[in-house]
Structures are given as C-alpha cells and as structure tokens.
C-alpha cells in the first residue's frame, strides 16, 4: 500500500511534518510448502507468518530532526495518519497501526534535500487482525 503526502501524521504521540509518503509492505516470513509422491511440484502452499513493514519517508529539515530525536529502533507506539491511498484518489482515510521502529535513516538526495526514513514493523494485538488499517472512525 502506498499513501502519498499524508497529513496529520502522528508517531508515538508526536506530530511529524514533511511526510512525503508512507508505504506498507507485506511479506511471508515462513512459507509452508508440501509435495506428494506423485510428481515434482508442490501441491500445498500456505503462509504461516506474515510481517508488515511500514516505511515513513519525510523531509529531514532541521526542525524535523528535532521532533524525532528520541525515536530509535525498538520503540513501540501508535502511528496514525490521514491520506488517500494514492495521489490519484480523492477519498481520504484515517489509518492507524501499532508499530515498532526497526531503523531510522538519513539520506542526502541531490536537489531534493535530506530525507529521513523511519522503518517500522506493525504489531497485531491478537495475531489474527491485520495490524494496519482504518483508524477508529474510518474515513477522514
């Protein structure tokens, strides 16, 4: 999922500005794959463990650095933002997730200024419910 230029982005209680995009990536951490004696190809495949990574990319202005000085890998909290699923969509939605920060990076891009990238993983409260989705109240 890709949200371009989300606004009202709050991470661990702090409003963060200059967010260019937030992306989420789902990947299988463990694939169950089984074969039979009938032939060489798998006849059963299922995904037992899923990891959802959320990446926040924002302008790393001096002000922005100050706002998130305290965020470091291992921190857990709520991410909440309002955005359209893509730049072409007019339908805005409020999205939230409980996240654990796994990396905070700063990259210098020629011309567009420094970028701060905050990499997180989403935590499900019960292991069943997808850990990122509409915030309470749904659409913004």
């Amino acid at each position: 999922m890709l949200w371009i230029e989300p606004h009202s982005t709050v991470l661990m209680g702090t409003l963060i500005t200059g967010v260019r995009a937030i992306t989420s990536h789902s990947s299988a951490k463990r694939v169950l794959e089984e074969w039979t004696d009938g032939g060489p190809y798998a006849t059963f495949i299922d995904v037992a463990d899923i990891s959802i990574e959320i990446v926040i990319e924002r302008d790393a202005t001096a002000d922005a650095f100050g706002l998130l000085d305290g965020v470091s890998p291992g921190d857990q909290g709520v991410l909440r933002f309002i955005a359209a699923p893509s730049g072409a969509s007019a339908h805005a939605e409020a999205v939230s997730a409980i996240v654990v920060v796994t990396a905070v990076k700063h990259i210098l891009h020629g011309g567009s200024g420094p970028v701060q990238t905050i990499v997180c993983r989403a935590v499900s409260q019960d292991g069943v419910v997808r850990p990122i989705g509409p915030a309470d109240g749904g659409s913004a």
Binding site: L32, W35, D37, T43, F44, D46, V47, A48
Partner: protein, 123 residues
C-alpha cells in the same frame, strides 16, 4: 488419490508422502557383541516399516482436531489392515502405530499441522 489403511482414509485432507525403511535382515556387524565376534551375526528378518509424512489440513481448529483425535484413536487401537499408497501399491497386514506431530498447528489461509506416521508389519 490419497492413501487408506484398513479401508479408512485418515490423511486425505492434505499432501502425504511415503518412505520405506530398511528391508531384509537384522544383523550385527563384527565386533558388536565383543572383541571375539569376528563375523556378521544374522538375527532375523526385519519387520516391514513404512513412514508417512504429510500435513493435515482443516478449515478451522475444530476440523483439524477432529482429524487428529480420530487418528489418535485408530493408532491407540493399532488399526491393522491393508495400507494402500496413493500410487495404488497395496501392502498387506500393516499396523498404524503412531502419529507424531512435526511442528505446531499453523494458522495461515487454512489450519494445518505437519506429521509423521509409523506403520509396521509385525514379524
């Protein structure tokens, strides 16, 4: 096509594979019993042993547990009869002795559990 033991299809909910364990005679190599044993000692014919591996698949936990408990009952009863492999090969007088889980109960698109089953034709 799945497998059956004594006419019962206990494992058809998921994929299954079969392996034959060593065949022939049980023997003791030289120097197994003591330093004076200088020749191989043949004990007797090996029992035919077949190991089945696979995965039970259910639509939910109850469905999977129903399968597990049925297999448990059949193994405790030492269900004996013809084992028919998915290939159609029949092995007479085989006994279902044990199912050993090969991992946790997994909750993905379906509920499933890998297993290993022992069949033996008693000598």
């Amino acid at each position: 096509m799945g497998s059956t033991i004594s006419g019962q299809a206990l494992f058809d909910s998921g994929p299954q594979r079969f392996a034959i364990k060593p065949l022939g005679s049980l023997f003791l190599p030289p120097l197994t019993l003591d330093d004076l044993q200088h020749t191989t000692v043949v004990i007797e014919d090996l029992e035919l042993r077949v190991v089945q591996t696979g995965r039970l698949v259910g639509v939910d936990d109850d469905d999977l547990w129903d399968q597990i408990e049925l297999i448990q009952t059949r193994a405790e009863d030492v269900l004996t009869g013809t084992l028919v492999l998915p290939s159609g090969k029949s092995l007479a007088s085989m006994s279902l002795l044990r199912m050993k889980p090969a991992g946790p109960i997994e909750h993905g698109r379906v509920v499933s559990m890998a297993y290993e089953v022992d069949y033996i034709r008693f000598g």
